[in-house]
């Protein structure tokens, strides 16, 4: 029986780096899970680009809380969008878990969801739409400003339904 939850690729940074790209993602899975444990050089958030598409094909809706204020926020018709509402300072640790459902079909736009947790700044959950019917074959992660620092870990897994 095939394994149902497989690592596709993983990166642990040994030096400060501007971006992390998972390329040549096979279309043999049903869903993708991306786990990012970032360390930032500057105070910033992570921007995600699919298939090198830098046009305004993205939209997003978040809900968030920082311990005193909860709210919701959205963006539409934007270029590659950040996946976490709260910025992270270089001293704070945080984590993102992203789920991409049905990422390899070629008939629908792609929806993905993110949960971001930073006990120092706040927590947020977001849903994102990439208005493109192409299969997702690459995902680029990059800080909004500055670099990822040494020790950043990013791993992408594939989930099989069969």
């Amino acid at each position: 029986m095939a394994s149902t939850y497989e690592k596709i690729a993983s990166t642990t940074l040994n030096s400060a780096t501007a971006s992390i790209t998972f390329s040549s993602i096979p279309n043999t899975y049903t869903d993708l899970v991306l786990v990012l444990v970032p360390k930032y050089v500057s105070t910033t958030a992570t921007k995600l680009t699919i298939n090198s598409d830098t046009t305004t094909n993205y939209s997003a809706t978040w809900f968030y809380g920082d311990g005193s204020t909860a709210g919701s926020f959205r963006l539409s018709n934007v270029s590659p969008v950040i996946i976490n509402y709260f910025n992270n300072t270089s001293a704070q640790s945080s984590m993102n878990i992203l789920n991409f459902q049905n990422y390899s079909n070629t008939t629908t736009y792609k929806t993905y969801i993110s949960q971001n947790n930073n006990a120092g700044a706040g927590t947020d959950a977001g849903v994102f739409l990439w208005r493109n019917t192409n299969a997702i074959t690459s995902i680029k992660l990059e800080p909004g400003t500055g670099n990822y620092d040494t020790g950043t870990i990013a791993t992408i897994y594939g989930i099989l339904k069969a």
Binding site: S3, T4, Y5, E6, K7, S10, V35, V37, F63, Y64, G65, D66, G67, S68, T69, A70, G71, S72, S93, S94, M95, I97, Q115, N116, N117, N118, A119, G120, A121, G122, T123, D124, A125, G151, I153, T155, Y157
Partner: protein, 171 residues
């Protein structure tokens, strides 16, 4: 090595005050706990209290929740446990249990430990329904080798509550 592996599980056959996963190997990258929980006290409104390595200091959290009418947020700092989701009380709809997923990345590395929580209480009543998303931190650089789950207001987990610990490897 398999990528997503069951390390240990515990399905309770009687009311129990705590569940401990001990001797957790350091061979995985991340840990995931999936639990289905009910307590044995009416109107308790407790939450899962998670401690690592029997250590009771250095925990903090920020969470958001909705109950169908209100969205709110809360913050915890310098508390004795990791907050990991509201639990279904004994007086709520029979046979209903809260669901919890706790994700702990990089648990064996020498750095402070983040974790995320996603939990729900849904009872088909107006009394209790919570959707919680949040995260916490244990400000300790020691590798996690044991995890204890209890209830912060001290009742027991009810019979039928289940707890599963998985290891995820990116090797």
């Amino acid at each position: 090595m398999a990528t997503y592996t069951l390390i240990s599980s515990n399905v309770l056959s009687s009311a129990t005050s705590s569940v401990t996963f001990s001797s957790i190997p350091s061979t995985y990258t991340d840990l995931v706990i999936r639990a289905s929980i009910r307590d044995n006290v009416d109107s308790n409104q407790g939450a899962v209290a998670m401690t690592f390595n029997s250590n009771t200091s250095g925990y903090g959290a920020k969470d958001i929740y909705g109950d169908g009418s209100t969205v709110a947020t809360f913050s915890l700092s310098s508390i004795a446990y990791g907050w990991a989701g509201t639990i279904t009380d004994a007086n709520l709809t029979a046979n209903s249990f809260s669901s919890h997923e706790i994700y702990i990345p990089s648990y064996a590395l020498s750095q402070n430990k983040n974790y995320s929580v996603y939990s729900v209480v849904e009872t088909n009543s107006t009394t209790a329904k919570f959707l919680v998303s949040g995260g916490g931190i244990w400000s300790n650089t020691t590798a996690i080798t044991s995890i204890t789950l209890a209830i912060n207001t001290n009742p027991n987990f009810a019979s039928g509550s289940s707890f599963y610990l998985y290891g995820i490897s990116n090797a």
